[in-house]
């Protein structure tokens, strides 16, 4: 994995983590407008980034934003435990 991909993956992990944390917060604070606004904004940023990442580096998830490649490369790209930090 080159540094550009790693940087993009880190950004993706950061944005998705914000959503995970907001998800749990909103489960018990469903009326918090500030959290709802953050959730909407970050969701859109993450959606754009996932489209760009999957086009460049292959699918993150099979039922995701990308349509896959020909030939099928889901099993060719490295697994999370094979990536160097």
């Amino acid at each position: 994995m080159d540094s550009q991909q790693r940087e993009m993956l880190r950004r993706l992990q950061a944005l998705e983590f914000v959503l995970t944390d907001l998800n749990l917060y909103l489960d018990t604070h469903p009326d918090c407008q500030a959290a709802l606004q953050d959730f909407a904004r970050i969701s859109e940023d993450l959606r754009q980034l996932k489209i760009a990442y999957e086009q460049r580096y292959g699918l993150l998830t099979v039922a995701g934003f990308g349509s896959g490649r020909s030939p099928w490369n889901w099993v060719e790209t490295p697994w999370p435990w094979e990536i160097d930090g």
Partner: protein, 190 residues
Amino acid sequence: MWIYEKKLQHPVRVEKCDIAMARYLNAQYGGPDSELAASLRYLNQRYSMPTKKAKGLLTDIGTEELAHLEIIATLIYKLTKGVSPEQLRAAGLGGHYAHHDNALFYTDANGVPWTAAYIQATGDPVADLTEDMAAEQKARATYEHLINLTDDPGVKDALRFLREREVVHFQRFGEALNDVQDHLSYKRFY
């Protein structure tokens, strides 16, 4: 259903091979208060929860715990990558090698296999959510012990992240418990 994403929740980098640390990390892979125990406990308890918040939270935290299990597995995998049977034996993992070669397995730090006897579902939402809060605190304490057992900055970073999540989950479970108690007292007046 669940959908797999081909990435970790938090990046994992290790400096060098450390078989002993990999062994200690099994505490959170297949131990009593491990990520495995947490995920299976929460995803099972959600069916008998009376409130929307509790059902949602157990589903969402149970799912996040699977991502944590993958982080622990990645740490163990990287810390033991390419080690020989002699090295495993020297680190006290000869027994593990005899049963599992270099495979990962759901045991605690002492090689004791995971068992469903570690977890509970009483069907009583107050009892179950209180168990969940205790489980988060036990996992937090275990992460603090694990952080004390390593000098590797990459391993420490991942463990600190996981420790913080235990604190957040404890907080959220406490809020869900308050909600359940309000719900139960409301029903009593009704």
